[in-house]
């Protein structure tokens, strides 16, 4: 897989994960209670997206590091990360354990997806993928077209945002995506089973 294709697949996988998580949370407030079938299908999609995301990341590593200069940005980002993480209100305790053991390799940075919410894989251990800052040219967090149709998904304990609103601390939202991405298979099913 070429690096570009891997990046695209990667971005797509992240986006689908973001959409899936928001659907899963929305279904909790649905009338009639949680639908087991729907939750199962959502978790299967999330698992596919996660698997494809991981395999495309691996293929990127194989392709070699990208020339973009993200190294200088990293220390800054790393410094800010723990602060952000500490500030992250607990939404899903079961995801936290999954975060720490997740491998913290140093993959080359992935170009950030259009939506800020799905960026920021940096919560995974030592950050090497600082989506926000890897290229000044792409610092803009403006939503772009249809690809960012997914609303900012949120932890259930925080106020729901209307679509179109952005949480000022976008990296927090991105941590959620990261949390989603590093879910183990057990965690995915735990999400379903817990309902």
């Amino acid at each position: 897989m070429s690096a570009t294709t891997a990046m695209e697949v990667n971005a797509e996988a992240r986006r689908i994960l973001a959409v899936s998580i928001s659907k899963l949370y929305a279904s909790r407030t649905q009338r009639g209670g949680l639908r087991l079938h729907r939750s199962l299908l959502l978790s299967l999609v999330m698992r596919s997206a996660r698997d494809i995301y991981h395999s495309s990341r691996e293929s990127e590593e194989l392709c070699g590091p990208q020339p973009a200069a993200e190294e200088p940005e990293q220390p800054m980002d790393t410094g800010s990360r723990p602060g952000e993480r500490a500030g992250l209100p607990e939404p899903q305790p079961r995801h936290e354990p999954a975060l720490s053991p997740s491998p913290s390799s140093a993959p080359p940075p992935v170009p950030r997806a259009e939506e800020p919410a799905s960026a920021g894989e940096g919560c995974d251990g030592e950050t090497s993928e600082d989506k926000e800052n890897w290229s000044p040219a792409r610092r803009s967090r403006k939503r772009r077209g249809k690809a960012s149709a997914a609303p900012d998904f949120l932890p259930s304990k925080r106020a729901r945002l209307e679509p179109g609103e952005e949480r000022y601390a976008a990296p927090l939202g991105s941590c959620r995506a990261a949390a989603g991405l590093s879910l183990s298979a057990r965690s995915l099913n735990q999400v379903i089973a817990a309902f």
Binding site: E12, A13, I16, V19, K23, R31, G32, G33, R35, L36, H37, R38, L40, L41, L44, V45, S48, A49, I52, K146, A149, A150, R186, N189, Q190, I192, A193
Partner: protein, 450 residues
């Protein structure tokens, strides 16, 4: 197939406001079912109501009113409930209606919501006793002193009244949401299926049911598939089939064991690895399964296709029909707008030669198994003036060569979906539920099935 289908639409039994585009959610039709003779047609809606239509007898002087369906009875089958233990609201939406074969003057039907199945008796009253001794015609108690002789009340004809009463309530047997009910050919038992279990009931016994299928894993985290639909074989009272979210069908024989977790036959088509995508599992989930009238074949519907299976061949379907393959490249958008979770039903015609299923934009499709021809028709006000002939529609790929009246994939209205359809058991009459409207189409030219 080439049949010309006359439109004799039965609309507006819900008080639809013609000037507004919105639809009251409670009026959305959630199930449609003909009875065994086709004389009655029942619809259930999201508000828990059931409306029964009756076909006018043929032979009336006015030729065009032959065989039209008119409202026969309306009643509230289920009410919203609250499960206090789980703090969950139980929707009153009618998921399925199944008629019992008629055994006496009354008609019986089973209707179910997510948790409770009810048996309703529908009977007619066209006579009433008159000439009581103690009451006068209005029901007021007579002054005893005015009664000088005794009379025997006689039955006098009255305007037809249709009475509906709940005869049985089958409750508290399902932890998960009931998706199917099916009456057995022995006319004594029926089954109800939820996401993980199937229960067998006797129609006369409400406090007890037998669990015949249980696919709940010990650890819910190991859950990989759920039951999506189930049906009894039309002739063999020991056989039934259930479909799963993985796209498999299992035929079970109740004679083999009390718990039919082990299937007698497993119908599964191996997945095409080249077609794998994020959404492969969702689109392979079977949304409906129906035995053919002969009992020889099974019809299944998944998101993009309808398949006919031969009971004697488990390895792959006999026939696969693409319902709307042009959506295959749009699965991601359909996932985002939730349309990919839509559960379409499917139906056989009386002779098992034609299958029918719904699609988007109020289109529905019919496939002739013998001639291999198919047609796409639309159920809408504009195209359904009474006695108008329905015009076949075509969907062309975006940017493709477009004929007049074709509609491009991008212009399809995904909020207008036809999930529920039913075919008269013997004649070419179909009932199509389009959101809150019911359309009934009759094929006047080819009334006999061939």
């Amino acid at each position: 197939m080439g049949e010309d289908t006359d439109a004799t639409p039965t609309l507006n039994h819900r008080g639809f406001l013609p000037d507004h585009n919105y639809v009251t959610e409670a009026d959305i039709i959630s199930t449609v079912e003909f009875n065994h003779t086709g004389e009655l047609l029942a619809t259930g809606d999201k508000g828990g109501r059931v409306v029964i239509f009756q076909r006018e007898p043929e032979g009336k002087t006015e030729p065009f009113s032959q065989g039209e369906y008119n409202v026969y009875s309306t009643f509230q089958s289920h009410e919203p409930e609250f499960d206090y233990l789980k703090s969950l609201e139980i929707e009153e939406k009618i998921n399925k209606i199944r008629w019992l074969p008629q055994q006496n003057a009354a008609q019986f039907l089973l209707s179910t919501n997510d948790k409770t199945i009810k048996l309703w008796k529908v009977s007619e009253r066209d006579k009433r006793p008159e000439g009581y001794n103690l009451k006068d015609e209005e029901g007021r108690i007579k002054d005893i002193s005015t009664v000088t002789s005794l009379q025997v009340p006689v039955l006098m004809p009255m305007d037809l009244m249709v009475e509906v009463s709940p005869r049985r309530v089958f409750a508290n047997a399902h932890t998960y949401h009931v998706n199917s009910i099916s009456v057995n050919s022995d006319f004594e038992t029926y089954m109800s299926a939820d996401d993980l279990r199937i229960n067998l009931w006797h129609l006369d016994i409400t406090d007890r049911s037998f669990n015949i299928v249980d696919i709940k894993p010990t650890n819910m985290e190991d859950l990989t598939e759920v039951i999506t639909a189930a049906e009894f074989h039309p002739h063999h009272c020991n056989l039934f089939v259930y479909s799963s979210s993985k796209g498999t069908l299992r035929l079970c024989d109740m004679r083999e064991a009390a718990l039919c977790d082990k299937h007698s036959k497993l119908f599964e088509e191996p997945e095409d690895p080249s077609a794998r995508s994020f959404f492969s599992e969702i689109i392979s989930s079977v949304s409906d399964v129906k035995f053919s009238h002969s009992g020889r074949y099974l019809l299944t519907r998944d998101y993009l296709t309808a398949k006919v299976w031969d009971l004697n061949m488990e390895s792959k379907p006999l026939e696969t029909y693409q319902v709307h393959d042009y959506l295959r490249s749009k699965l991601c958008s359909l996932y985002e707008n939730d349309c990919i979770f839509d559960k379409f039903e499917c139906a056989w015609n009386g002779s098992d030669s034609v299958i029918m299923t719904g699609a988007y934009n109020n289109f529905f499709r019919m496939f002739d198994r013998n001639t291999k021809r198919d047609v796409t028709l639309e159920a809408s006000r504009e195209s359904s003036k009474p006695r108008a002939v329905l015009k076949p529609r075509r969907v062309c790929a975006a940017g493709g060569k477009r004929r007049k009246d074709d509609i491009s994939v991008d212009s399809l209205d995904f909020t207008k979906k036809i999930l529920h359809t039913a075919w008269h058991p013997t004649e070419n009459i179909i009932a199509i539920a389009a959101t809150n409207n019911l359309y009934i189409f009759q094929d006047k030219l080819n009334s006999e099935l061939h």
